[in-house]
């Protein structure tokens, strides 16, 4: 059996306060909660206030190449941002990239609920309007392997520069230090 975790986004209830971004970026700071920066958040609210678009989206998997075609969605007469529903950290846009390193940011479910210390992710906890809710269930299948943040970042560097160059760089640096 594998555990499936779902963050339900009710965009109709979102009022655009971005508390989810605040809480997420604080949790992922090092040391924990030591800094806030929505730009480092792994959940972002895509908003176009006058067009009544308030859409929280969690960072998903990183992709090294953008899709063959981008897309836009118009729903109930509202045109959403290009690829606005997509969760990928993608070369086509700045979303879900660390502002300093450019490395991908993705939701790690608060590092798997802070190893059991949390009963829900911080973004859900700080969404007092219930635009975000959380559920867990079990399904047939095996637990997939999750990469930690460091491995995940290195993987993206390898995709961009090639394994050889990354290894060379790490070797050079380690000799210098």
């Amino acid at each position: 059996m594998r555990k499936i975790t779902v963050i339900n986004i009710n965009a109709d209830k979102c009022m655009g306060c971005r508390a989810c971004e605040v809480a997420c970026s604080a949790f992922h700071a090092s040391p924990k909660y030591s800094s806030t920066n929505p730009e480092r958040s792994r959940i972002r609210v895509s908003y176009d206030q006058l067009n009544d678009i308030y859409l929280p989206v969690m960072g998903g998997e990183y992709t090294s190449a953008e899709c063959n075609a981008r897309y836009t969605i118009t729903l109930n007469d509202k045109k959403y941002e290009e690829c606005g529903f997509c969760r990928a950290s993608c070369p086509s846009r700045d979303l879900f990239k660390d502002p300093d390193s450019g490395l991908p940011l993705r939701c790690d479910l608060c590092d798997n609920l802070d190893n059991g210390a949390l009963d829900e992710p911080w973004c859900v906890k700080w969404c007092l309007n219930d635009a975000l809710t959380f559920e867990e269930r079990e399904e047939e299948g095996e637990e997939p392997e999750m990469l930690d943040d460091l491995e995940y970042g290195v993987r993206s560097l390898i995709d961009t520069h090639g394994l050889e160059k990354v290894v060379d760089a790490v070797t050079r640096i380690s000799k210098r230090e």
Binding site: M15, G16, C17, R18, A19, V22, A23, A26, A29, P31, K32, Y33, S34, S35, T36, N37, P38, E39, R40, S46, Y47, D48, Q49, L50, N51, D52, Y54, E81, P99, W126, L128, N129
Partner: protein, 678 residues
Amino acid sequence: MRYAETGYNLEIDLTRGSFDKIPTDPRLTELFLGGLGTNAKILWDRVPSETEPFSPDNLLIFGTGILCGTPAPSANRTIVSTFSPQTGLMAFSMMGGFWAPELKFAGYDKLIIRGKSPDLVYLWINGDKVEIRDASHLRGKGPLEVTELIKKELKDPKVQVAAIGLAGENKVFYSSIEHGRSSASRLGVGAVMGDKGLKAIVVRGKKDINVAHPEEFMNLCNEVLQYRNFRWENPIKGVPAILAGVGSPQEMALRDEEWHTTSFSWGHARTRRKGFWTKEVEEQWNNIQDKAIIRLISCYNCPNECGALISYPGLGTPTYMMKCYSKLTYVMGAMSNDLEFGYKIAGQAQEYGMDGYTNPQVMAFAVELYENGILTDKDMPGFPPRAPDGSDEERFFWLVKKIAHREGIGDVLANGVYWAARQIGKGAEEYDHNTTKKHEQMVIKLGMLNPIYYLLYGTGEKANITQIEGQIPQVPLPKDLREEFVTNWIQIPTGKEERFKQFMMEWGDEDKVFPYYPPPDLVCDLVEWQEIMHYIDDATGICAGMSSFLIKPPYHIHNIARMVSLGTGIDISEEELWEIANRNRTLLRAINVRRGVRRKDDEPPVDHWKRRFPDYEAKLKDEYYKFKGWNSDGIPTEETLDRLGLDYVAKDLKESGILGDGKTEGALETSSGGGSEK
């Protein structure tokens, strides 16, 4: 490392077209905290008292609260300070929204603007990159339209924009700085921005804001949110709907408008309509409100929904965002019966960039002058007639356009009631009945003098009662609800618990009524508590709607002191926080004193209450001045200034002859006000 703040201000000189990133003195943080406090310090130091508001030497400061950009819930306020074209005094206006946190993330605690640009420009602050850009294509456009155009121009939907409309460009004395649904709208800060040739300020930031004690800070944030939920689920009994919950208030989410429509005055603050809120009106207005509001919205990192996105077919204005009770100010000013009119004209006025409190009063004042033959068709050619139902809706649409354009009579009215009355003459001065220190006040007219509000209105430096009042109900609670109210009243400052609880328990009893109850010493205590909590919020950037404006708010002196300490790493006790707020309040007073404010100016609107007690009011003022350490003319004494570390202020006031050298100057022999002949 600096915690909670960035440690830098951004200085812009629009005359030279230059900018500097200036490190700030951490000692000033310890003394004034941030936001209003440090704004005031800069204005005291750098803008001499003779500098005209429309001088290039006047500064326009956008300060952020010390907690803005940290996870502290609802800490998102931008505090705009300059000198007001309307009052000549320190202008004090604030806005919520998203702008202040973004400025922090861009790496600055304040933006300080001096000089004047020869051409209309906008500022683009993108972290360390700062540009002054041409704004000629934005001339005459409304703030929301400008915001959308700039987002496209800069290809970044996440920028935060503060902009002025046509009224600001035309230096209407009560023009606002607008930011989405928020606005810094009091005292003409938009006019100063317009005078500087600055159409908009655009900010984008991607840096971190640090806190000193992360884990404890976050726990305290959680406590605040929990208490907010508790208060939301447990509204205060015995007070009007808008005072019962949390928010500033959550005006857009509420539909019960009985309190505003029946307690406040209509027209030019003249007429009470006690029977207005009938079943039919309630039903009709609820339908309109449900139709108009597409979504309730909030400010940065705040769970309350005080704003709304407004649009529906037939509204006649583009979609816009609204907050607070501006949906009613125009309706009541125009003696309208139609909430839809309120949504229509508020949308227009907001795009012109005008203060939703002052604007309807100025227009109702013009209507009154016209009805009394002081203004005529010669002054106002084409002025529409009153509607058959007695409402002035068409006249308001006519007037708002004239004022924003400064066209014809609009050019006079654009200076606000006080100045317009004197410019018009012919007895128009007699109709200036609702201003304090030349600024339009809340449209409330009541019977019996309220000694607490007498001092709040009269002595408040901020000229806006909602930014002075809070903490206690405005009238006594019914007897059976008092016990419950004082139970778990955790917000009271340490040492005052018994005193304030006893007050709430007995206030309203047979011999415990206005005007002689509460006694002056208790009045002073209550007034100070209310105003100090606002001064704390103005330094931290916490919204009054989660704090000082409320009764039993989630934020109070105890947890704010802890939060500031944990956030900044500066150990600040409750007493020290109180003293900082008192220092800021006193410095503001000194700034205004240096610009001429005296005892005689500390008066609420003349007809605020029907029953006035001049001798007793003078006694209240005396007591309050003594309590604050001011002399009988309302000037902080040397002793007081020295005690607060403001000795340089005392020195300045002495050198300019405003303060005599005796420390006991102005012992309380005067009791009728205006004692400036010493």
